[in-house]
């Protein structure tokens, strides 16, 4: 079976290596993800950061096998998932096997809980369905229902019996996101992908949901791939950070490394652009220019035209990855002497 493979490191639950994803559009071919590599170690949180259109959601959808077909396709690279014994290369895993893995080993929490939930089925029934399809330990209706109630309790819902019967529109945004999380953890997945799980929520509710994810990570020991554009969320939650720009990883490292010694000018600019409560500044740092057109990416570093550090070598080829420490890498000529 060609889709079975070996993990590079058995302590990782997910390894993405040189992933390439293309979309055929009217304007031409868009290389949404171009050579992305990173891994998610067991039980840790990896924050995937970047602005809209940088390819972070496409990366996560590729892991789930949910790319919009036929426009979107993976054209290269490997996504290795480690369910325990055999590792799977999700790039060529057949749909049938993938269906078994999804929900079971890897599951996803989406940004907008209102559109991700089915509006005409009660939320309890929606969680039941996941258990019915994936967890063979619960066979009878009663067993499934009691497991759902248990899950609702686990995600911090005070009145599981009452909530079970309700429909998504009767719940608040925070409650809906709790339901989504309950559904995602129904089968104790090894990897949870959370795509902007708190972006649609108010700040006090965001704090509740982040706290919940943090607790669940401890309890279930699953790895979390947290996709967000909010560096504050990453700082509080993640162990590792991957920064993407225009389809490529520009910098990655442990959360301490990225925040203490950000190396890529884009990472630095992102941190400076966001005002921080308690720190006063007269003027916000704005990154000039805009993201390059994904249909015609320049031959040089994609960030060159917006970069305040650009110098001669930057007009050359796209910079390759430089290691600053065993865990910290950056793609930038500015750091070429330091690597």
């Amino acid at each position: 079976m060609a889709y079975l493979t070996q993990m590079k490191n058995r302590e990782n639950v997910l390894e993405i290596e040189n992933l390439q994803v293309q979309f055929d559009t009217e304007g031409g071919i868009v290389r949404s993800v171009d050579g992305v590599s990173f891994s998610v170690p067991k039980g840790s949180v990896v924050g995937l950061v970047g602005e809209s259109g940088c390819g972070k959601s496409v990366t996560s959808l590729s892991v789930m096998g949910l790319l919009q077909k036929p426009q979107g396709k993976i054209t290269g690279g490997e996504i290795r998932l480690n369910p325990g014994e055999n590792a799977y290369n999700l790039v060529n895993t057949p749909e049938k096997v993938l269906q078994k893995l999804r929900g079971d080993v890897v599951s996803m929490v989406f940004q907008e809980p209102m559109t991700a939930l089915n509006p005409v089925i009660s939320v309890g029934k929606q969680i039941d369905e996941v258990i019915f399809l994936h967890d063979t330990r619960y066979r009878t209706k009663e067993a499934i229902r009691s497991r759902t109630l248990e899950l609702l309790k686990l995600v911090g819902i005070a009145n599981p019996q009452g909530i079970y019967k309700l429909y998504p529109h009767q719940l608040s945004g925070g409650m809906r996101q709790r339901i989504m999380i309950g559904m995602a953890i129904a089968c104790n997945p090894r990897l949870l992908i959370a795509d902007e799980p708190t972006t649609a929520l108010d700040v006090t509710i965001q704090a509740q949901i982040l706290e919940l994810l943090q607790n669940l990570k401890q309890e279930l020991g699953c790895g979390i791939l947290l996709i967000t554009h909010d560096l504050g969320v990453v700082a509080g939650m993640a162990d590792f950070v991957v920064v993407m720009y225009a389809g490529r990883v520009v910098e990655k490292g442990t959360v301490a490394e990225i925040f203490a010694q950000p190396a890529h000018p884009y990472t630095i600019a992102l941190m400076k652009a966001k005002p921080v409560v308690g720190q006063q500044q007269d003027r916000l740092y704005a990154i000039g220019g805009k993201v390059p057109n994904p249909v015609e990416l320049p031959p040089h570093c994609y960030f060159k035209d917006r970069c305040s550090h650009a110098f001669e070598p930057c007009a050359g080829d796209y910079p390759c990855e430089i290691s600053l420490s065993p865990t910290h890498t950056v793609s930038c000529y500015k750091e070429a002497g330091n690597g």
Binding site: G174, E211, A235, K290
Partner: protein
């Protein structure tokens, strides 16, 4: 204080199936010319409704008064209102749905200019180009359509449309919430530049407390249709008095992994405005709840000069709580 806008006991109730929804329930504030007043709170707290009522964009008032430069906005006849409109403008949250897809940028910015005869007909095109320059748009783009622009550029178009009428007051309803961080900074800087240049007054509505701190001179925190705390920005951020403000501020994720925040986690979510809790609307989620809280509605009182708070707990404290 050179006051430009005064809102007195503003009330807007909507009839609902489950009872009357008090979207805005007795809001008072005034804004000085050339400053930015921030209105913050979570979704459903009534901040957008407050903004719309000030511009007379949301039907009739249930109660209260809006005075703009001494004129009662709701006492004006249609003709008078029309002369007032250019002076009070609005920038919307969503730069996608707030621009007509069938009009060119030039038409969008010039439409109201023509309508209000702000410049002679022949000069409208030049004037629009000039406004586009000011807002950081290339004036040769004026024959393009909104879909050809990025989110940040579109928000610039929205700002240009408001600015073209030479307003004195602009309501900014979450103007940067839909934008990426790097673009957000550009727009915030633009708004500040315009304010400095034209002495504009902003009412800035947002749920992003870090942007509000940066841009606003004075802020009011709303909860369930009422202002629970109000004061100069530095007062509120350095010494938040209301437990809700404290929780809001502590919930903001700090982009520094070495600082583990002592988050004040609030229980539950915003109660339904159709069935608000008795007494203090915040009592069910409040970590400092006392016996009096469910019984009596706290009034907004001046705790220190210029710093107001509506909370029973703060009133019984000898020294106001200090937020680290």
């Amino acid at each position: 204080m050179d006051e430009i806008l005064r809102v007195t006991d503003l009330k807007k109730y909507y009839p609902g199936r489950a009872g009357v929804i008090k979207a805005v329930d007795g809001v008072n504030f005034s804004i000085a010319k050339g400053t930015t007043f921030g209105l913050v709170g979570e979704s459903g707290c009534g901040k957008s409704t407050t903004g719309r009522m000030i511009l007379r964009l949301g039907g009739s008032l249930t109660g209260g008064q809006v005075l703009f430069q001494g004129q009662d906005v709701y006492a004006l006849n249609p003709k008078q209102l029309r002369t007032l409109r250019p002076k009070m403008q609005i920038v919307f949250q969503d730069p996608f749905s707030s621009l007509s897809p069938r009009m060119t940028v030039g038409e969008i910015i010039g439409e109201a200019v023509r309508e209000h005869h702000l410049v002679p007909k022949k000069e409208v095109a030049n004037y629009v180009g000039h406004i586009m320059d000011i807002c950081g748009l290339d004036s040769y783009h004026k024959n393009r359509y909104p879909h050809e622009f990025s989110g940040g550029q579109r928000q610039r178009i929205g700002i240009a449309r408001a600015l073209a009428l030479q307003p004195e007051f602009i309501l900014c309803d979450e103007p940067v919430s839909a934008l990426d961080v790097s673009v957000q900074a550009q727009i915030v800087n633009l708004l500040q530049d315009l304010q400095a240049q034209y002495r504009l007054t902003y009412l800035f509505i947002s749920h992003d407390l870090s942007v509000v701190e940066h841009i606003c001179h004075e802020i009011a925190v709303m909860y369930l249709g009422k202002i629970v705390e109000q004061g100069a920005t530095r007062q509120v951020y350095d010494n938040p008095l209301h437990p809700y403000t404290q929780a809001l501020l502590s919930a903001i994720p700090i982009p520094d992994p070495t600082k583990k925040t002592s988050r004040i986690l609030l229980q539950g979510s915003l109660p339904s405005p159709a069935d608000p809790p008795s007494g203090c609307p915040f009592h069910a989620r409040c970590p400092h709840r006392m016996d009096i809280c469910p019984k009596e509605v706290p009034t907004l009182r001046e705790i220190e000069p210029g710093h107001f708070c509506a909370c029973h707990f703060v009133e019984v404290q000898d020294t106001p709580l200090y937020f680290p």
